[in-house]
């Protein structure tokens, strides 16, 4: 074999290797552009934003970086590393142990396992939610001593607070915390005892940094502040506001989170705070201010743009103006077309079956079940819409127009009238449609009731009425019957005054319930059972009649 031929394979191999090295060097450039890390700046040199991937990761819009989820816990990272990729198995084993300890009521060990679980799964919000709820609602209830129960309620809340620090962009966690603190403490059988314990700061002390659980919230700056709150509803409200801030700041995609309910949490917590003050016997300026704040919060809630599913956004306070607009359009239309509505209705009534007509003619309280159904169907069939009135008017005007010269003033006047009628009908329909959309959202949060409640409860008469009833209850508990009777009667008189100035209150079922309960206690004070007749004329008989039947 010739020397050139033996040298060739080696040279080819050398050239191949050169080509590989050249290719690697070329690839380094795009790799650098894509992957070089971001760096922090120092005093002398500015930091760098890094390659494409680093920029994407740190972009607030994408939020891929772990630092954007929340704080990073070094212990947690070490723990995860130490499992050598078997984190999932470790979590499963721990969870199975946790369930076993829970079953055996070994809450100390179960609590310690939670500390390990949180380090292994720090960014699974459902884990935090579930475990904190389990502690607050299930472990607490398994205790007998109310102090032990409170210990676990606060324990679950503190646990969830740690999760909030690690998941700073998740609004559900602070919201859940708000719910635990406000509702679990404020709506339990042990509430009076819990609220007394809540005032002791020692329950909320934590070692290390950070504000305690019961820190206040500055609504101006939208930050938590070094102000200790001693009421569970206020603390709950602070956490609800924090949840709102997180949702607004990070534009979090939160499917399944009903916005009307979400934004009603904070104002409702304020309302419950005011009610709790009254239950504790406070009816002075503090309670008045609390209701005043509640009313303001509810108004602001009503002004908020809320998504309404596929129907765009709505503002709950817009309902009444829209209804008024619809009514004004209807009235104007009826002025334009006097008698047309009745005429159409008459035609529709004529088309009804005799049974339906009979049902309609029978007074509502005397109808049988079939007649109620028949009357309901008949009523919907004889309903005359604004469109029908406008169209009928337009048709009638067009018939008249044929007989008139087109250019005549009369003809033009008729044209304008027809157009106006159709426009009024359209505006009324649009306003009604929007009002219906808003009403659907309002019904989710019982908007009208709470607005009325806030408006009425802050009045001096209502506060005095509540105080009188409270004093009467206290007198009853102390077997001072005469004082109790006087208190109830004073309270009822004040309620009458409030109802006369706010007639809608008489329709409110919650208020009706309060009245019935107070009247029953009054009856007991008079030595009667609940069904005995009250002295007539009873000042609140109309309210009783309305609501006792409903109950």
């Amino acid at each position: 074999m010739s020397p050139e031929k033996t040298a060739d394979p080696r040279r080819r191999s050398f050239y191949r290797k050169l080509a590989y090295v050249a290719g690697i060097c070329l690839l380094l450039f795009p790799l650098f552009v894509l992957g070089h890390p971001a760096t922090h700046g120092t005093r002398d040199t500015p930091g760098r934003s890094g390659g494409v991937l680093a920029q994407l990761r740190n972009d607030p819009e994408h939020g891929f970086s772990q630092t954007q989820l929340g704080e990073i816990d070094m212990t947690s990272e070490t723990f995860k590393l130490a499992t050598l990729g078997m984190r999932g198995i470790a979590v499963q084993v721990l969870w199975a142990k946790y369930n076993k300890y829970r079953m055996q009521k070994n809450f100390s060990f179960a609590w310690d396992l939670l500390q390990q679980l949180k380090q292994l799964a720090p960014h699974f919000t459902k884990v935090w939610e579930h475990l904190a709820w389990d502690i607050t609602y299930n472990v607490s209830v398994a205790q007998d001593d109310y102090k032990d129960k409170f210990f676990w309620v606060v324990g679950g809340a503190k646990y969830l607070k740690e999760g909030i620090a690690l998941n700073g962009r998740e609004p559900r966690l602070p919201r859940e915390l708000g719910r635990f603190i406000s509702q679990k403490v404020g709506r339990a059988d042990e509430t009076p005892l819990y609220r007394a314990l809540f005032r002791d700061e020692a329950w909320f002390q934590t070692e290390g940094e950070g504000l305690p659980l019961n820190a206040g919230y500055n609504e101006q700056t939208q930050t938590r502040e070094h102000l200790v709150l001693r009421d569970n509803w206020q603390v709950g409200k602070a956490w609800y506001r924090e949840a709102e801030r997180v949702l607004a700041e990070y534009h979090v995609y939160a499917p399944g989170l009903s916005r009307p309910v979400f934004y009603s949490d904070a104002p409702l917590a304020q309302m419950y705070y005011a009610m709790a003050l009254e239950k504790d016997g406070s009816f002075d300026k503090v309670a008045e201010d609390a209701w005043h704040t509640a009313g303001r919060d509810w108004r602001e809630f009503g002004e908020r743009e809320l998504p309404a599913g596929d129907e765009g956004t709505v503002r709950l306070n817009d309902y009444e103006p829209l209804v008024q607009e619809a009514n004004e359009c209807t009235t104007a239309l009826d002025k334009l077309a006097p008698g047309v509505r009745d005429e159409i209705r008459g035609e529709k009534v004529a088309k009804l079956r005799s049974a339906e007509r009979k049902a309609l003619d029978t007074p509502a309280d005397k109808r049988t079940e079939d007649e109620v159904r028949a009357a309901y169907e008949a009523q919907s069939r004889i309903e005359v819409t604004n469109d029908e009135v406008a169209n009928r008017l337009a048709q009638s005007l067009r018939r008249q127009l044929r007989k008139l010269p087109r250019d005549s003033e009369e003809a033009q006047g008729m044209e304008r009238k027809a157009k106006e009628a159709l426009s009024l009908a359209q505006r009324a329909a649009k306003a009604q449609e929007q009002a219906k959309r808003i009403d659907r959202q309002r019904s989710i949060v019982n908007f009208a009731h709470w607005r009325l409640r806030a408006e009425v409860e802050q009045t001096r008469d209502m506060l005095d009425a509540r105080r009188a009833i409270y004093d009467a209850d206290q007198a009853m508990a102390g077997a001072q019957i005469a004082a109790a009777l006087a208190g109830y009667e004073k309270g009822f008189a004040l309620w009458r005054k409030v109802i006369d100035s706010h007639p809608a209150l008489a329709e409110d079922s919650e208020f009706g319930y309060d009245v019935i309960e107070a009247v029953n206690r009054y009856r007991r004070a008079r030595g009667q059972d609940e069904k005995a007749d009250l002295p007539q004329p009873f000042i609140l008989q109309d309210v009783l009649n309305k609501h006792e039947k409903r109950r």
Binding site: F107, Q143, D144, D145, L193
Partner: protein, 621 residues
């Protein structure tokens, strides 16, 4: 958490039955082995030759197991030790040190009982894992590697019995493990003491004077500074006697110097945190609603049926019969006023009642011989916590006639009478009954046998800690025994895997027993596999069909196999004493003895099996 004394059997009660069972199993295995060997020999060499072979095997076994040379065994053990050191087993110790350095990150000192976390969740589990790993790798890989590298040839060519080789390996590796465990134990002990050690400060400014309603005396009340996530409430009476609240299972001694605003208050380190209680348990039985004897109480629907419940304001009662309650066990010098009865009660309310008050319960003492029954005390039940009920040495009650009506004196005042605990209520041989009843209608008390005991004395915590280490040591010895035995006939990786299976099987032995008995939800292995892959839960019935029928059939076949496997697997849980140590209960000698005999019961047949397998391997013959 119930810490039970292992079915409450003494060693003397346990041993005969256990030995008989063990002898039966060993006998079956031996006979089964001989028969199998006989048939294999028959197939190889015919029946006459088979008898000769089996006979020689039995003779060699007897000789090799009885004519052991301790000197040779020790020499082989020393070789095993040197080999282990050459394999850098000290890395394990280094790992443990590193773990302890960073372990503080994982300890929550604000926990309810930090000693339980420190000992039971960190120190002992860390030692357990490391010694297991050590035993696993050393024992399962040593012999196969020696055979592969032919270093074992230099041993078998000497006048050494195979039984001595097996025993030497086991002893050698056990010695290495013992040394390392001892070193880790010391480090673990120091870590525990250091982690739990803390104190608080108290200044005059933290105390406020409070007057007890209806009393002329005033008390100083306040709270100590926070440390390790807790504070203690402090009460100081006019005479200077201080009571520091029990918190997280401990208290502190408080020393006061000076008076008034100039007084200085010094708190010592934690007290009663690391203890080893020696309980005297009794036998528990119940009275039902009609007042008749019953083995169990009522089930209130709790998923965990460990405790039985008694109904309140009725005839239901829980009765413990104690023995050994003598003056000697409770000398007056140490227990001048009362003897402590530790009680743990579960409370079940069918209605809330007054949530600010505990449910009332009553304790009575009854002499089983004379029938004299006296009310010792009425108390508010504390749920989920150990409640120390002092049983007075002298009990004063209102005298009652035969019909239970109070007896009155000439002035119409009720007559009182006094009973001495040891003279009137405890029999001469130390027996007494303690009756517990719930006094509120609609409420229930739940209890198990271990929920009431007389706390006679505290043993040494250090000794208890060592006993806890002994438990780990025995488990490690079991792992070594299995590892060496399996390595006599399997290659290194296979022996390693097989030993891992033994460990896992031993840890989950109770589960395997339940599985074999059909007591688990979700069926046997095949049915569970179907449920896993089809994502069905454990309660729903499987759809009838060929697949389900096949799975159920296979499971039925698997159950006897699982049962047999569970009989030869060691129950590692029986050797775990870390709960005793962390919960502060002394590991009693009977329990240690039982575990030691169980260990011997495993090691003996493992040695014999290892001997047989090694003997039958063709190693340098």
């Amino acid at each position: 958490m119930p810490i039970e004394s292992y079915d409450f059997q003494t060693f003397a009660e346990w041993f005969p039955g256990a030995f008989a069972y063990w002898a039966a199993v060993m006998g079956c295995l031996l006979v089964g082995g001989l028969i199998t060997g006989f048939f294999v020999s028959v197939l190889r060499s015919g029946p006459m030759r088979a008898v000769e072979v089996v006979g020689r095997a039995v003779r060699d076994l007897v000789l090799d197991m009885t004519l052991l040379s301790p000197r040779r065994i020790l020499a082989l053990a020393w070789v095993a030790v040197k080999e282990a050191v050459r394999r850098r087993v000290l890395v394990v110790f280094a790992l443990f040190l590193v773990l302890m350095l960073f372990a503080g990150w994982f300890i929550n000192t604000a926990s309810d009982h930090p000693e339980r976390v420190c000992i039971g969740r960190l120190v002992f589990p860390a030692m357990w894992v490391l010694t297991f790993l050590l035993g696993l790798f050393l024992s399962s890989m040593s012999l196969p590697l020696d055979i592969k590298n032919r270093t074992l040839h230099t041993v078998v060519t000497k006048p050494v019995r195979q039984s001595e080789i097996v025993l030497g390996r086991i002893l050698g590796f056990a010695a290495v493990g013992t040394l390392l465990l001892a070193a880790m134990g010391v480090i673990g002990w120091l870590f525990t003491i250091r982690t739990l050690s803390h104190t608080h400060t108290l200044t005059a400014g933290q105390l406020k004077e409070e007057t007890t309603p209806g009393s002329q005396t005033s008390l100083l009340k306040g709270k100590t500074s926070a440390a390790s996530g807790h504070q203690h409430a402090v009460t100081i009476d006019a005479s200077g006697e201080a009571v520091v609240e029990m918190k997280q299972g401990h208290t502190h001694d408080l020393y006061i110097e000076g008076e008034g605003d100039d007084a200085t208050y010094t708190l010592e380190g934690p007290k009663d945190q690391l203890v080893a209680r020696v309980p005297i348990y009794g036998k528990l039985h119940f009275l039902d609603r009609a007042g008749n004897e019953a083995e169990k109480g009522v089930n209130t629907g709790d998923e965990w049926t460990y405790r039985s419940f008694i109904e309140g304001a009725g005839r239901m009662a829980a009765i413990w019969e104690f023995k050994g309650i003598t003056q000697r066990a409770f000398p007056e010098s140490e227990f001048p006023e009362s003897i402590p009865l530790d009680l743990t009660i579960e409370v079940f309310r069918t209605h809330k009642g007054d949530v600010s008050k505990a449910v009332a319960g009553g304790l009575w003492l009854r002499n089983p011989d004379t029938g004299l029954k006296v009310e010792a005390q009425v108390f508010g039940a504390k749920k989920f916590s150990r409640d120390v009920r002092p049983i007075p040495r002298s009990i004063e009650v209102f005298k009652k006639d035969a019909k239970g009506k109070p007896v009155k004196d000439a002035n119409g005042r009720p007559v009182r009478e006094t009973y001495d605990l040891f003279r009137d209520l405890v029999t001469p041989d130390g027996r007494v009954e303690v009756w517990l009843q719930c006094l509120e209608g609609g409420q229930y008390f739940g209890m198990a046998r271990a929920d009431a005991y007389f706390h006679a004395r505290d043993a040494s915590f250090v000794l208890n800690f060592v006993k806890g280490l002994l438990g780990i040591w025995m488990q490690m010895a079991l792992v070594i025994g299995f590892g060496v035995m399996l390595s006599t006939f399997l290659s290194a990786p296979v022996a390693l895997l097989a030993t891992v299976f033994v460990i896992v099987g031993g840890i989950f032995r109770d589960f395997i027993v339940d599985l074999a008995a059909g007591k688990t939800y979700g069926g046997g292995p095949w049915e569970s596999a179907i449920r896993l892959f089809t994502q069905q839960n454990q309660i729903v019935e499987l759809e009838p069909g060929l697949r389900t029928s096949a799975a159920l059939t296979f499971d039925t076949i698997a159950k006897p196999a699982l049962w047999m496997i569970s009989r030869v697997l060691p129950a590692f849980g029986n050797f775990e004493f870390d709960d005793y140590v962390s919960y502060g209960y002394a590991v009693d000698g009977d329990l240690l003895l039982r575990c030691a005999f169980q260990l011997i019961g495993f090691l003996l047949p493992l040695t014999v099996a290892g001997y047989f397998f090694l003997k039958n391997r063709e190693v340098a013959r």
